[in-house]
Amino acid sequence: MKKIINNAEQVVEEMLQGAVLAHPQYVKRVEGFNVLVRTNSPIVGKVGLVSGGGSGHEPSHAGYVGKGMLDGAVAGAVFTSPTPDQVYEAIKAVDGGKGVLLIIKNYTGDVMNFEMAAEMADAEGIKVAKVVVNDDVAVENSTWTTGRRGIAGTVFVHKIAGAKAETGAELEAVQQVAEKVIANVRSMGMAISPCTVPAAGKPSFTLAENEVEIGMGIHGEPGTHREVIRSADDTTEHLVNKISNDMPLTDGDEVAVMVNGLGGTPPMELYIINRKVAAMLSEKRVTIAKTYVGNYMTSLEMAGFSVTILKLDAELKELLLAPADTPALVQF
């Protein structure tokens, strides 16, 4: 394992410290917890948005704490859901009296830990709602009862629910628009090289020199299958087809696109991928309202990417294009 770290046990703590030192205008630490919240939290009269999960997906989620997106982010150990007490602290720190929405990626651990936190907050009289993001079409929904995983599409939930909350909307309305995003967002990824959880010390899977993993999860979970590496276009086509098989994309549809790097893949490759995504959408006469290309939901240093497509209606589009000012996503 070759990493630029000090101590495998300290990576989350030191990363959080480094993030606060880098972005003091955006985030502050909830003392004693692995929780970052906006510098001006809690914001009275605004629904608070809390997300989080295992670390190793940076800039998710702390990178999206700021105006127009999240209010708080909870960082678990690497690839491990944060514990309920941590999530509960985040909820308390951002509740401005209008309630708190929890944005959870659909993993058993995340769901259970966030639910336990919600029960704790409930007991304290804080209004809490939750949404569970499950955008990864690599996983068959019908067959496996845990349901789909939440991956990069989560960032669109942050963006759009965050913009909605910023309008002063009620918790139910914010939750509703988040659900609408979830209903209309699909993703799928692939990896050409694995990542190593610092505390584990070795890669969570290994691939032959010419082999890639299709549909792997952002925690290094194995994917749907392995295959010999194909061209960027072929691979992209496979992923986009999986998405559009699940969520038909037709003439006149308008979408947002995210070509997400998993940590070890350089922008050059992401742009080559985006070229094919855009071409496929154009062929389907689907309009692209906005494209994001970069590292939004990583898997440590894994090399690979995911494609996310979000179908927009007028409301989603307006909220997607609304301003945001966070460490990792700024738009006018």
Binding site: F79, P82, N113, T145, T146, A199, A200, G217, E221, T224
Partner: protein, 211 residues
């Protein structure tokens, strides 16, 4: 109190000693952190238990449960945490464990796991070690075997359960994303459950010998 602390320590030790093995098992069909998560939790438990002077089994198990919930994370944290909390409730005020209490605690723990995780036997989770183990324990107790013998049977049943997880497709937890690709691999949580049961059996046997 000494033997209570020693029992908790022994549980912690076996998990910590198997940190890498459990992580490797999780790597195959999960996300390579089960051993890390559990070891982190039981390190915390071990530290707390070292300072424990309470001999109420319920109180100590509650401490274990709370500690696991707030340190393990992932899927196993809430599940094992809830299991210990529920066992603690059943053992409130108790200073020794007999067969009846053991059965009650075990049943409560499993009920807690099922409530929290919404899984049943056969979904390739820790339940596939725990439920057969529980069945073996009740059978043993019904045929009036010693607690040590019963726990030995439970532990063997758990091991068989671990082996069984290799033959089924996961429908809960992270491995469920793999569909058929989860076949041939054993479940990490079932393995950690089995390991804890071996320790409990061993402790019961030692205590039996001492008496």
């Amino acid at each position: 109190m000494r033997s209570l602390n020693m029992a908790i320590e022994a549980l912690a030790n076996i998990i910590i000693a198997n940190k890498e093995k459990l992580t490797e098992i999780d790597a195959a069909i999960g996300d390579a952190d089960h051993g890390i998560n559990m070891a982190r939790g039981f390190e915390a438990v071990r530290a707390k238990v070292a300072a424990n002077t309470n001999d109420d089994i319920g109180a100590v198990l509650k401490m274990v449960g709370v500690t696991l919930i707030s340190t393990v994370g992932g899927a196993s944290g809430p599940l094992y945490g809830t299991a210990f909390m529920r066992a603690a409730l059943a053992a409130q005020g108790k200073k020794t464990v007999d067969g009846e209490l053991a059965e009650k605690m075990f049943a409560a723990a499993i009920a807690g796991i099922k409530e929290r995780g919404k899984a049943v036997r056969g979904e390739k989770t820790m339940l596939d070690a725990l439920e057969p183990a529980y069945d073996a324990l009740t059978q043993g107790l019904a045929s009036r075997k010693s607690l040590a013998e019963c726990l030995e049977m439970a532990s063997s049943a758990a091991l068989a359960g671990v082996e069984y997880t290799k033959t089924i497709i996961a429908t809960k937890g992270r491995a469920s994303y793999l569909g058929e690709r989860s076949l041939g691999h054993q479940d990490a949580g079932a393995t950690s459950s089995y390991l804890m049961l071996t320790v409990l059996a061993e402790i019961a046997q030692n205590l039996g010998r001492e008496e």
